[in-house]
Assembly symmetry: C2
Homo-oligomer: 131 residues x 2
């Protein structure tokens, strides 16, 4: 069995044919984002080394950074104990979040309220302006 077949056989896709995938910066440990993958996204990611996801809103396969240039290079793909979550160790170019922040988890409950804890580092208009 190939690595791909072996890995795919361990994955418990949900009723929509998707599996949750956490992207983590491989060296710093930052949790960047969570997105969803279908079988084709995993195949494409392992084949090319460029992380692909399934967009639930646009209902299409999506190469991370295809519009914004903020790509993710796969370092390692891991599967959890019950096969329903993937952990992608990646090398994130630039920012992972469409708001122009490094990661998507920029709101935190602190001191009794919801705070914005990370600044926009790249103007989203520059990332998506050409669209």
């Amino acid at each position: 069995m190939s690595a791909l077949e072996d890995a795919l056989a361990q994955i418990a896709f949900d009723r929509d044919g998707l599996v949750a995938a956490i992207a983590q910066q491989h060296d710093s440990g930052e949790v960047l984002m969570l997105a969803w993958m279908n079988r084709a996204a995993i195949e494409r990611t392992l084949a090319t080394g460029e992380v692909h996801y399934w967009s639930r809103s646009r209902m299409k396969l999506w190469r991370k950074g295809e519009t914004s240039g903020q790509t993710q290079q796969l370092v390692e793909l891991r599967i959890d104990c019950d096969g329903d979550t993937l952990l992608l160790l990646v090398d994130q170019k630039g920012v992972a979040c469409h708001t122009g922040r490094r990661d998507c988890f920029f709101r935190a409950v602190r001191g009794g309220k919801l705070d914005t804890i990370a600044e926009v580092t790249v103007d989203p208009a520059k990332l998506y302006g050409g669209r």
Copy 2:
């Protein structure tokens, strides 16, 4: 609005009333596990500082470690850009995975095959033997 109400208002619960929650060890950056929370699990977690989840298989609210003793103390709750994923910074006591491993992501595609990359550090029979 209280912090709880403010946070809850930003969360996009799915059709089952759940939101994905990634647990990350606050100091080391290890991604420990992904589980699901409903509104009650979030309320209980923020109120007590002990992480609670919704068990999709047992269909019940569950305090992490209630059987195994491997509890998670909440350090910070973060919400992602579109409100459909939480990042919980936690202090994990012992092991997060029911297999007795520190985290759930112990299988990796390496060198063309799926490898087990972490050892069992606590015998699961000791964690769940009393049940």
